[in-house]
C-alpha cells in the first residue's frame, strides 16, 4: 500500500502472489507515473527475482501508464529473457494497451486478457 503524507499523492497498489506452482503474479492497481515509478520498479524487481517459470504482471487495473512505466516494463521484458522466459502481461485497458501498440513494444511480451489464462502453463 502506497503511503504518503502528500495531499495530492498518486495511488499505486502492488501485490505478489503465487496462484499455482511455478507461477508468480504481480498485480498492479492505480497509476504508474513519475511519482509512483519507484514503487513500481521495486515491485517489478521482486517479481523478476522470484523463482518460477511463469512470470505474470497483471495490469488489469492500471489506469495510466507513463513513459517511465513503459521503460520499466521493457527492462523487465529483457530481464525475463535473461532468465529464459517471456514476461506475461494481463492487459485489458486502453491506458496500457495503447502505449504498447503505438511504441511498437507489445511484441516484447506475451499478452493475456485475464490472469487465469496468463498463469496457464504448458501441460
Amino acid at each position: 500500500m502506497n503511503e504518503s503524507t502528500q495531499p495530492c499523492a498518486d495511488f499505486l497498489e502492488t501485490s505478489l502472489t503465487r496462484p499455482r506452482p511455478g507461477a508468480v503474479v504481480l498485480t498492479v492497481r492505480g497509476e504508474i507515473d513519475t511519482l509512483t515509478a519507484p514503487e513500481f520498479t521495486a515491485a517489478t524487481d521482486e517479481l523478476l527475482t522470484s523463482s518460477g517459470e511463469i512470470l505474470v504482471m497483471d495490469l488489469t487495473d492500471v489506469r495510466f501508464l507513463a513513459s517511465s512505466g513503459l521503460a520499466v516494463l521493457i527492462s523487465a521484458a529483457h530481464r525475463a529473457e535473461d532468465r529464459g522466459t517471456r514476461l506475461r502481461l494481463v492487459v485489458t485497458s486502453r491506458a496500457v494497451r495503447r502505449p504498447l501498440e503505438i511504441t511498437g513494444t507489445a511484441g516484447m511480451f506475451d499478452l493475456y486478457p485475464d490472469p487465469e489464462s496468463a498463469c496457464g502453463g504448458r501441460d
Binding site: 502528500q6 495530492c8 499523492a9 498518486d10 497509476e31 507515473d33 513519475t34 511519482l35 495510466f64 501508464l65 507513463a66 513513459s67 517511465s68 513503459l70 521503460a71 486502453r94 491506458a95 495503447r98 502505449p99 503505438i102 511504441t103
Partner: protein
C-alpha cells in the same frame, strides 16, 4: 505581474478555446494537469486513442519540465482547443539559463511518437525575467481522413 512568454489571448482569436493551468512544479500535481488534458480532448470529440495519446504526451512533457525546474518554480500548461486539434504549451522556470532538456532520451522519443508535433524552447530570459524552458506539442483529434 507575469511578463513571461505565453500565447496571448489574441492568438486564440482564430476560434480556439484557451485553458491555462498553473501549479507548483511538482510531480505530485501532474495527475491534475493530465486530467485536464483528458477532459478537454474528450469534450473536443477526440477519438479514444487520441485522448490516451494526448494524456500521456502531456504527462511526459510536464514530467520532463519538472525535472529541470527551479525548486520554487511554477509549472504552467496552456491548452488551445482548436477544431480537430489541441495545442499544448507547457513551461517552467529554471535555475540557470543553461538548464537543458535532452531530446536524446527514451521519454522524448515516446513524446515524438505520441504527438503530431513537438518542440522544446529554451529561453535565457531578458529584462529581469528569469530563464524558462517550454515544450509545445500538437495532437490531432483522430485519424486524418484522406
Amino acid at each position: 505581474m507575469s511578463d513571461l512568454d505565453s500565447p496571448s489571448p489574441a492568438d486564440a482569436l482564430d476560434g480556439a478555446s484557451t485553458v491555462e493551468v498553473r501549479t507548483s512544479a511538482s510531480a505530485a500535481l501532474i495527475p491534475t494537469i493530465r486530467a485536464v488534458a483528458s477532459d478537454l480532448a474528450a469534450r473536443a470529440d477526440f477519438d479514444l486513442d487520441a485522448i490516451s495519446d494526448l494524456r500521456m504526451a502531456v504527462d511526459e512533457a510536464c514530467a520532463t519540465l519538472v525535472d529541470v525546474a527551479a525548486p520554487t518554480s511554477w509549472l504552467r500548461c496552456t491548452f488551445l482547443v482548436r477544431p480537430e486539434r489541441i495545442e499544448v504549451h507547457a513551461q517552467v522556470q529554471t535555475k540557470h539559463s543553461d538548464a537543458v532538456v535532452s531530446t536524446d532520451t527514451f521519454g522524448w522519443r515516446v513524446l515524438q511518437t505520441l504527438a503530431d508535433e513537438v518542440t522544446v524552447h529554451h529561453d535565457p530570459g531578458v529584462d529581469g525575467a528569469g530563464p524558462t524552458v517550454g515544450i509545445r506539442l500538437d495532437k490531432r483529434s483522430g485519424d486524418v481522413m484522406r
